[in-house]
Symmetry: C2
Amino acid sequence: MNTTYAIKHRMEVEASPEALYTALTTEQGLASWWTPMISTEGTVIKFRFGDGKSGADMRVDETIPEERVVWTCIDGPWPEMRFIFSIAPHERGAVLHFDHEGWSEEGDFFRHCNMKWGYFLASSLKPLLESGKGAPHPLDPSI
Amino acid sequence: MNTTYAIKHRMEVEASPEALYTALTTEQGLASWWTPMISTEGTVIKFRFGDGKSGADMRVDETIPEERVVWTCIDGPWPEMRFIFSIAPHERGAVLHFDHEGWSEEGDFFRHCNMKWGYFLASSLKPLLESGKGAPHPLDPSI
């Protein structure tokens, strides 16, 4: 029985699996496509938005170079939810599968986050990798 | 038992429910945020992409002004799937819920279309309504 839901995206990028992995695992990379308000404390990455008071603290659970990155939200709007970035080689360069798991319902916040992740991945991470310039927060659409 | 899946998005726009409805129900509106390769035959809207050979024919099943638009794909990559645009007033102007229903699995094509719909809604329909300029195909990211 399906008791939880996940946000699911997929995109191909004209960049190497290594470049994709770097953009998902370094402060400079993450700041360039998600939010520049970022800090790291041990295995926890703190992402902030807006006035800097809201955001999410992500514990980095797995980092397999060129293959897989997994976070768990330990503070913020997605308590205990998991974020899985799966990387594979592709004829265009690399392909990313993204799963944001652990939703109890596909309600308004699920829909909001689904659209936001689509933006940050397709309209920020992808151009960052392909042209060197992302469009991180606060450039994301106010939906 | 959950036997089918749906792509689900939500966004707020700084525009009236009437303007949102118009963008979803007129050739000019649809051409300005989804694809300019569009033609109408009776109750069927034909959308084309790329070289003009691929695309989808949508039968318009419901149009309730300022409230609801429903299409069924009668030819193309989403056979018999339904597309539901639900409009409601919102303090910012209007809110759109979008559902693309009838998927048998959340596979790669589901993920691809989920990301594409996010783009066309948040990065093309929304700016069209708020600034007069969308970013329809072929400006969509090649994911």
